[in-house]
Symmetry: C2
């Protein structure tokens, strides 16, 4: 049985979100220790919704290679833990100062700043703990490759570097190349890890892995352009977060650089291009191809 047993993208997303949420729930700490507040904050910021797009990329790429459900779900959960940690820290007053996340109070509003900082820290560590556990894969060489890949996607040449570059970019006239580089780091690195995780779990061939990295490359860019478009056009209700923020903070975005029309075209072009990287997988890649279209057609 394939990991995702439906050809329809929306039900595939819903199904993945459900199964990954269950896995996360099992992996997250609980209890009435003195530090229970930490557990609550970790659960609050990871469970209870979200599209789980990164988890979907893990599951859909794993489906290509017939990876076991347990392995794929654990890696998907680890990726979502990292994504959640980054959102918690991003929302802090010293960073984006966002009080709302997914239509709910952000972690530091629901708890407090210290708890939010520490919940983020613990979620990063938990992600590595999950990947390193033998339940994720019987072969330590595969697990260590996942750990190395995730660490690189987060660290000083990954997501965190992108966040710093993003802060430094405020008020500057960045070029298209500079904004693209920034996005690659800030959101692209983790999406790339998610898309190539299936290949790692299956010890797939280098061409197969490269195809997925190329797909991730284009999908990641299309994702960010669409985010920029939604930031301009979306209401708070639609996006679940504060709107028009980039305009207010004077950030150079794909929209400010290209204009609405060309940004939309570019995103659509990238989504098509992403799908074509997967030709070698034939019909099996249908869900990933649909996912690329979903990324640019979503309304939030």
């Amino acid at each position: 049985m394939p990991l995702i047993d439906t050809p329809d993208i929306q039900s595939a997303l819903d199904f993945t979100a459900l199964t990954v949420e269950r896995t996360m729930d099992r992996l997250l700490p609980r209890g009435d220790d003195p530090e229970a507040k930490l557990f609550e904050a970790m659960r609050y910021s990871t469970l209870g919704g979200g599209r789980r797009l990164r988890a979907f990329f893990v599951m859909a790429s794993a489906t290509l290679f017939g990876v076991s459900a347990q392995a794929a779900q654990r890696v998907a959960a680890a990726v979502e833990f990292v994504h959640a940690y980054s959102l918690i820290h991003d929302d802090l007053p010293a960073m984006d100062n966002d009080d709302i996340r997914r239509g709910q109070p952000s972690c530091h509003k629901r708890f407090d700043e210290a708890t939010a900082i520490l919940a983020g820290d613990a979620l990063q560590a938990l992600a590595f703990e999950v990947l390193a556990h033998e339940d994720t894969h019987g072969d330590p060489a595969v697990r260590i490759q996942l750990v190395a890949g995730l660490a690189q996607a987060i660290g000083p040449h990954g997501m965190v570097a992108g966040q710093v570059a993003d802060i430094e970019a405020a008020g500057k006239n960045l070029s298209m190349g500079q904004v693209t580089r920034l996005q690659r780091l800030k959101t692209g690195a983790l999406i790339s890890f998610a898309c190539s995780a299936g290949a790692t779990l299956a010890k797939a061939s280098e061409p197969a892995r490269h195809a997925l990295v190329a797909y991730a490359h284009d999908v990641g860019l299309a994702f960010q352009i669409t985010d920029d478009l939604l930031d301009v056009g979306g209401t708070c209700e639609e996006t679940g977060k504060t709107s028009g923020k980039d305009v207010i903070t004077g950030k150079a975005t794909f929209v400010s650089l290209l204009g609405l029309e060309r940004a939309r075209d570019q995103a659509s072009l990238l989504a098509d291009q992403a799908g074509r990287h997967l030709d070698m997988f034939g019909d099996k890649a249908e869900l990933l191809i649909q996912a690329a279209r979903y990324v640019v057609e979503r309304r939030r």
Copy 2:
């Protein structure tokens, strides 16, 4: 040639600090990318001093088993990266709000809060990247064991849990058992990882590993009691950080629970007991035995 080529604890500490600092320098990012500020903050908070006690525990335990210098130094650097990340986040206004660290402005004072949060995040990721790299050990099974051990020492049942429990403890009358449990998590978990890393790198026997964990257990407690003693008695100049903080914030400490005299006796007792766990290693354990005494006799 043994990793540490001196029988004298102070010169062994100095030697370790020097070699590990060099390794850290090599492993830390540098460059003039837009995110160079992140690299600077990571370097600022990790290089340029500190006792490197955790690094010493890695190096001294590795010496017991004839582990390669490169392997030991990389693990020691990873432990120091994690220690530095925890100090950066601890010093933040939302946490301990400490403006001074090692006699210098803390990371968020020298840079800013956002950079400090992200530098901490990147240092955690870098630690895992270093452990996962094949230069750390040829056998992926050893590397994954290190990754799992470090992740557990940090995450929701390790250091971060201890930090939350510590915050929650403010103003409460904690029992001796509760303070001990808190310390185990907050500082003990990482010290335990450091002390047992040599055994992991050498694939040592279970009794050897257990001996080191038992040693770490007692040394960690002795370390915390001494910290509490120094907090009461030390001047800012001696300790390099704000003094008397625990008294001001009304935290239950080993000193508030036991009194000065008994706390001193207890620390000394634990240091002796720590050394005795290493009987099986004979003379080779001399440095670790001396290190236990150093931990309780240090003045800062």
